[in-house]
């Protein structure tokens, strides 16, 4: 990026040898205008290359096969991700455990007040999550819930923000959450055990579908619990990679 910037300012200073298509041809008369145009151009180039400013490294899923496929080697930070399907929570808790292993800051889970049985500490502990490092915030209405998730993402104080919105988000709401995640450099994960997509197209960096799979019971070894995971969409991933896994979990 710095190469592009240097090049453009160089051309701008040299008196307009450099041409810009949309502004028409010719030598710039006004230095101010020239500079403004140069800035706009820098912006345009930068936008192509811009990546969300991430505070931590990418959030690794902990499954080598999955991480190998993902463009960042994990879930991009400073963006929103979705986990759908009947095992969406299990996958989310699995990601939460990985996150708390690698980040010092606590995580936040937004739950509706109405869901009294929302989270059970001993169960989380069994998945390798230290429940003491999970802040739980309860909201009374859907609007308050969105406010809460947005604030938590924006604050940058949490290593991971989990939320379970009721139903699909509108484009505006999804966009706001996405911008908040970018501003705070925080990874957001929207969880829905219903099957339908939560976020509007283009606003989430990845969408996962996690379904339960029958456990593998062998006569001698321990029970191996399984998860069927499908990567439905992922920003920056276009190839024909494997997007379907059957994974052993805790």
């Amino acid at each position: 990026m710095s190469v592009y910037r240097a090049e453009i300012f160089e051309t701008a200073r040299n008196g307009g040898a450099w041409r810009e298509g949309t502004e028409g041809d010719g030598v710039w008369a006004d230095a101010g205008l020239r500079l403004a145009t140069a800035r706009r151009h820098v912006d345009r180039i930068e936008r192509q290359f811009r990546r969300a400013p991430s505070k931590g490294s990418a959030l690794r899923t902990g499954f080598a096969a999955v991480d190998a496929v993902l463009p960042d080697g994990g879930l991009t930070c400073g963006a929103i991700h979705e986990s759908l399907g009947l095992a969406a929570r299990r996958f989310a808790v699995h990601l939460l455990a990985r996150r708390l292993e690698n980040a010092a800051a606590p995580a936040l889970w937004a739950v509706p007040v109405a869901a009294g049985h929302a989270l059970y500490g001993p169960g989380l502990a069994g998945y390798g999550v230290d429940p003491s490092r999970l802040v739980i915030a309860r909201y009374r209405s859907a609007v308050e819930g969105l406010w809460l998730i947005e604030e938590a993402l924006k604050s940058g104080a949490f290593s991971l923000v989990l939320g379970e919105p009721e139903g699909a988000l509108g484009t505006t709401a999804a966009r706001r959450l996405s911008l908040a995640a970018e501003a705070g450099g925080t990874c957001g994960l929207l969880v829905s055990e219903g099957g339908a997509a939560i976020s509007a197209p283009g606003t989430s960096a990845s969408r996962w579908r996690a379904e339960p799979a029958p456990a593998a019971i062998s006569e001698t070894g321990p029970v191996r619990r399984r998860l069927s995971l499908v990567l439905e969409r992922c920003r920056g991933l276009t190839g024909e990679e494997t997007r379907r896994w059957l994974l052993d979990t805790v």
Binding site: L86, A87, R89, R90, V93, A103, A104, A105, P106, V113, G116, H117, A118, L119, Y120, G121, P122, G123, L124, A125, G126, Y127, G128, D130, P131, S132, R133, L134, V135, I136, A137, R138, Y139, R140, E144, W147, L148, E151, A152, S155, G156, A157, F158, S159, E211, P212, A213, P214, A215, I217, V223, R225, R226, S228
Partner: protein
């Protein structure tokens, strides 16, 4: 020393007066005493008036005291509590003068110079009213007090304790040597607490019983024979040497007020006023190294109605910008009505707050604590403080008692046990499921074939606790899954026939 006036209030029964109202049932017509236990025996320490009249003395064993006086009320000896109460009474005395000091372990010294005109009435001089009000006020709080007002603090201290009267009012122009001459020499111990008992014994042995006897003796001889402390005590009592008092600094409540010449109503004006209030309050908190946990902001409207907004913080805070942001959420609820006349910002729950917390150096924890605190405060103020929490483990093997809620900050807690497979969600009330035979159950109205993964795990109720939820007795828990892999945590009550099944958790 002219112009100085000191009022000494002596509380001879401070320990018993302090404890008697709390002791409650004991009527004041019954003698009372505080008792200190040393090993196996107990000794009287402080006595009330009636106990003294009945012949009890400090240092008696409790057994012999109760032989003399079977109805004695026994109170615990607690010098720290006494001292704390004395400081509280010193604060109470702020109504008479800003300069109040604690005098010894049982007295208060008020510098009343210049304060007496405020109390003057048509019939009485200001000083007389002041003495009366101080004694009556303390009596209303349950404390008996002797008072002495004199031109030196030493004379006031000696007269209040050894004067033999409950009120002494020594006129400014009275000669102190005359007033004090009748007091016993032991009265000097009130002036100079360091004086030894031996000194007084020696004085009495040579026939010097009263202060008047000492005044005629040359100081140099006195000091040579009995030590410098005695001579200096005498000088201080007579006002020939200074005896300064150390008034407690008065800490006014943490409140700031702003009045407006004209009522204001525009949001920017109200914001600016709030900022000014916060700046003033936070500057004071910063000077004192303190922070507040709670702020109450009251707006007084022109039509004499008022509106209050309250914010709370997870840790003591004194950063005006941060506190302002917490109020900012609530600013839209402000209804100026006919305009706001004045505002009051009061900090409650003021606690010590060190600078490092403010700086937010997260080196110890590895993350930005300030950001976390700010975020928790913001969320808590909008959602309600009890809606932002962490889970903490409870030492119980019952699944429904294994966790509790705790505050997010401070972020230390007991470790969680990782043993046992527990579900991610525990239902508040177990959901009855129907056994259809052949490993099939009706769950949520649907026939589900289950496969056993783990179990049974027997969990018995805590026999020492009556728990309706566990009235069915011990349970056998099973970890099962259906053919698609959905996992359930189900149990049957071990003692009941026919066996009934319940769903208790979801993985």
């Amino acid at each position: 020393m002219s112009g100085r006036r000191y009022l000494c209030l002596w509380l001879p029964f401070l320990p018993t007066d302090r404890l008697r109202p709390a002791a409650g049932e004991a009527p004041l017509s019954v003698p009372g005493a505080t008792v200190q236990r040393v090993g196996n025996s107990a000794f009287l320490v402080a006595l009330d008036r009636m106990a003294r009249q009945r012949g009890l003395r400090s240092g008696m064993t409790l057994a012999s005291a109760q032989a003399v006086c079977p109805d004695l009320t026994v109170l615990p000896h607690d010098p720290d509590g006494d001292r704390a109460r004395l400081y509280e009474l010193a604060l109470w005395c702020d109504r008479f003068t800003p300069l109040v000091a604690v005098d010894g372990v049982d007295g208060l010294m008020l510098d009343t110079a210049g304060c007496d005109p405020l109390f003057e009435t048509d019939t009485d001089s200001g000083e007389a009213v002041l003495i009366r009000q101080a004694r009556e006020g303390l009596a209303a709080l349950g404390f008996h007090a002797s008072a002495a007002l004199a031109s030196t603090s030493g004379a006031a201290a000696a007269l209040a304790r050894y004067g033999g009267r409950e009120e002494w009012h020594v006129a400014p122009d009275a000669k102190l040597s005359d007033v004090l001459s009748d007091l016993p020499v032991t009265a000097l111990s009130a002036v100079e607490p360091g004086l030894d008992e031996d000194v007084f014994d020696g004085l009495v042995r040579v026939g010097l019983r009263r202060i008047g006897d000492l005044i005629g003796v040359p100081r140099a001889a006195l000091a040579a024979r009995f030590g410098l402390a005695l001579a200096s005590a005498l000088d201080k009592a007579l006002g020939q040497a200074p005896r300064p008092i150390a008034p407690r600094p008065i800490r006014p409540p943490y409140r700031v007020r702003l009045r407006f010449p004209d009522p204001i109503g525009d949001t920017p004006d109200i914001e600016a006023a709030l900022r000014r209030l916060l700046d003033r309050l936070c500057r004071r908190l910063g000077d004192e190294g303190r922070g507040c946990r709670r702020l109450d902001w009251t707006l007084y409207r022109a039509d004499r109605t008022e509106q209050s907004l309250t914010i709370g913080t997870a840790r003591p805070a004194r950063d005006p910008n941060r506190l302002f942001r917490l109020f900012a959420e609530k600013l839209k609820t402000v209804e100026p009505g006919y305009g706001v006349d004045s505002m009051l910002l009061a900090a409650t729950g003021v606690e010590a707050c060190t600078a490092t917390q403010e700086d937010g150096i997260g080196a110890v924890t590895g993350y930005d604590r300030t950001a976390l605190e700010t975020a928790i405060d913001r969320l808590g103020n909008r959602l309600g403080a009890d809606n932002v929490f962490r889970l903490a483990p409870v030492d119980s093997h019952l699944p429904d008692r294994a966790q509790t809620r705790t505050a997010v900050l401070p972020d230390k807690s007991a470790p969680w046990s990782k043993s046992g497979d527990r579900p991610l969600r525990l239902l508040n009330a177990p959901y009855p499921i129907e056994d259809l035979g052949g490993h099939s159950f009706r769950i949520f109205g649907r026939r589900t074939a289950l496969r056993l993964l783990r179990g049974p795990e027997r969990i018995a109720p805590e026999w020492w606790r009556k728990d309706a939820f566990w009235a069915g007795g011990a349970r056998d828990y099973y970890d099962v899954e259906d053919e698609t892999g959905r996992r359930f945590w189900i149990y049957s009550e071990a003692g009941n026939r026919p066996v009934r099944w319940y769903l208790h958790g979801l993985f």
